[in-house]
Amino acid sequence: MTFDDVLPYLVALGRCVFAVVFVMQILPLLIWAERKGAAYIQDRPGPNRAHVMGIRAAGLVHTLNDVVKLIMKEDIVPGHVEKRYWAAAPVIAMSVALCTFIVVPFGDNFMGYQLKVSDIDGGLLFVLAATGMGVYGVMLAGWASNNKFSLLGGLRASAQMVSYELSMGLSAVVVFLIAGSVSLSAIAEMQAGAIWNWTVFTPMGFIAFVLFWTAAFAETNRTPFDLPEGEAELVGGYHTEYSSLRFALFFMAEYANMIVASSVTATLFFGGYNLPFVTPAQLREHADWVLMAAALAAPTFVYFAYEANKRKQRPFYQALPAGDARLKEPMVFVGLWLGAAVAHVGIGIAGALGLASKLSLNFISFGYLESTAVFGPDLVTAIVGITVLAAKILFGCWFFIWVRWTVPRFRYDQLMDLGWKRMLPLALGNVMFAAIWVAFFPTGLISTLFGSK
């Protein structure tokens, strides 16, 4: 067995690990953003007490505490539950949420390898099917808990998901019509280049986006559609009976679903891994310029350092007794931000020296390794793609959080009314409109009228 035989398996493993790690790394950040965002919206400072040697990192350390707390807590199995299904439910919820992620492309091909876990032809259909599976976790939890409040929560979840999946699917059909493909890679490629190539900047694409995004709130059980766990009337809804890590799985599944919904929305409507006006081919060609552009971020970091330094003057730090570990925190952050600034200047210099276009195994091993295939430009393209997609995902997730702390929960009849009487007819009409539009402007309005691409 040669290395080349094993390589495909290694690549597959690497992709899977990357996808899971990607989601799992964003998760704690989201939990932090949720708390801090809620606090700032409500004019309070939010989590800021837990610290590691005086470093509180604006409350990020609280997430660590949470992990420890959830692991250490007693895992209570109530006597009245259907044990097997009850134990399976959180696992289903979490694994379904994670596996939806496998068809999302992270960037343009890297040395011929696709930057996504699996190239399923179904693409988006797989996403719809997998999110449909997600309801099983909630339903099983509600039913197996053998408790009327949990059961009601599970029922609501399934009713809600069925109602909103229709509008979601129909909005996705609009994107199929525009792209002429169900593969998410093809959809992302189609949106490369000018910003008006993004699906959201076509009339039917915009309507589809609004519908899809609204349905995504219902699919992920987020406020204003978080009726399945409506604590005012259902105690905790479907996860009432869960504690410890089982609860953590549900909790993480909710955030993982947010990440998946944001990534799918970003890919369908906001160009996926593409920067506006820059195609991956152009990125490859001008990889050195991209590195130089990274140096432009340095002033921002210097400004952050300046702000961190100013924080020393806050009454809070003034009131701390001498020798308190937290007193050194602003200076640590000044150091970190300045370090980031220096690193970015360094990347810029590397770009100016043309390192990106020279990078190969031969080059970095000073000639020991044989392989002379230049992977620098591809690496830069891949990193830019992943960063851009991550930025779009984070904004999407932030939007979920932002809406949660802005609007109250819908009433159940309002939810059904919105889903069936307004969104569904609109989505159907939108599909017809899109079909007609695509028939008249096959390559998009601007391209058809002005002949540019």
Partner: protein, 212 residues
């Protein structure tokens, strides 16, 4: 018989509001303004970061009781029993003693206030004819590990202001017009922390005051 015209279920929303989207965007704009303001000016928060930063109470805040001393170092209290009588929570226990050497003759051998029962109404302060008890310490952290330690005794209440400024006295001295009737601005300030004269032997040992 004709059916009554179906009444439209009104949710009280106008047509524009019932689309939700515009109202949603307005709400999002409002919350975002709060976030941006708060990021750039963290001193907007009203939160008092308690153990590190303490809220300063107003002059009129009724905190833990303290007992005042006369210039000669004895407690002002003459054990007239006005405060235990008026106390709605019945939490003041005074054991009176006689001191033939003193003009007042009567003094409290023991003066206990059960802080677990006190409702901080301030009636005891109002009732006192001698301005012997006050609640102007602004101390609001009244806590202990045992019920016994929550009973503040004479020693404790006399020495409560050790190392702390008696805020109200300073305020009254600066604003004599606002001072209560019994307050003499020119009265020499009692050096706080000075041990009160213990006339009844063993009275001090009866309840060990909490060390602060």
């Amino acid at each position: 018989m004709a059916l009554p015209a179906a009444r439209k279920m009104s949710s009280g929303m106008s047509a524009g509001e019932s689309i939700y989207l515009v109202e949603m965007l307005k709400g999002l704009a409002l919350t975002m303004t709060h976030i941006i303001k708060n990021i750039f000016d963290q001193d907007r928060f009203r939160t008092v970061e308690y153990p590190d930063v303490r809220k300063s109470m107003t002059e009129r805040y009724r905190g833990a009781h303290r007992l005042l001393l006369r210039p000669d170092g004895k407690v002002k209290c003459v054990a007239c029993m006005c405060c235990p009588t008026i106390c709605p929570a019945k939490c003041i226990t005074i054991i009176a003693g006689e001191d033939p050497n003193d003009a007042a003759e009567k003094f409290p051998v023991e003066f206990d206030i059960d802080m677990l029962r006190c409702i901080f109404c301030g009636f005891c302060v109002e009732a006192c004819p001698k301005d012997a008890i006050r609640m102007d310490t602004r101390i609001y952290e009244i806590n202990a590990y045992t019920r016994q330690a929550m009973v503040h005794n004479k020693t404790y209440m006399v020495n409560l202001m050790d190392g702390l400024k008696p805020p109200a006295e300073e305020f009254y001295r600066a604003n004599p017009d606002n001072a209560p009737a019994g307050f003499a601005g020119d009265e020499p300030a009692v050096p706080v922390g000075q041990p009160f004269v213990n006339l009844a032997a063993g009275a001090e040992a009866s309840g060990a005051g909490r060390a602060r």
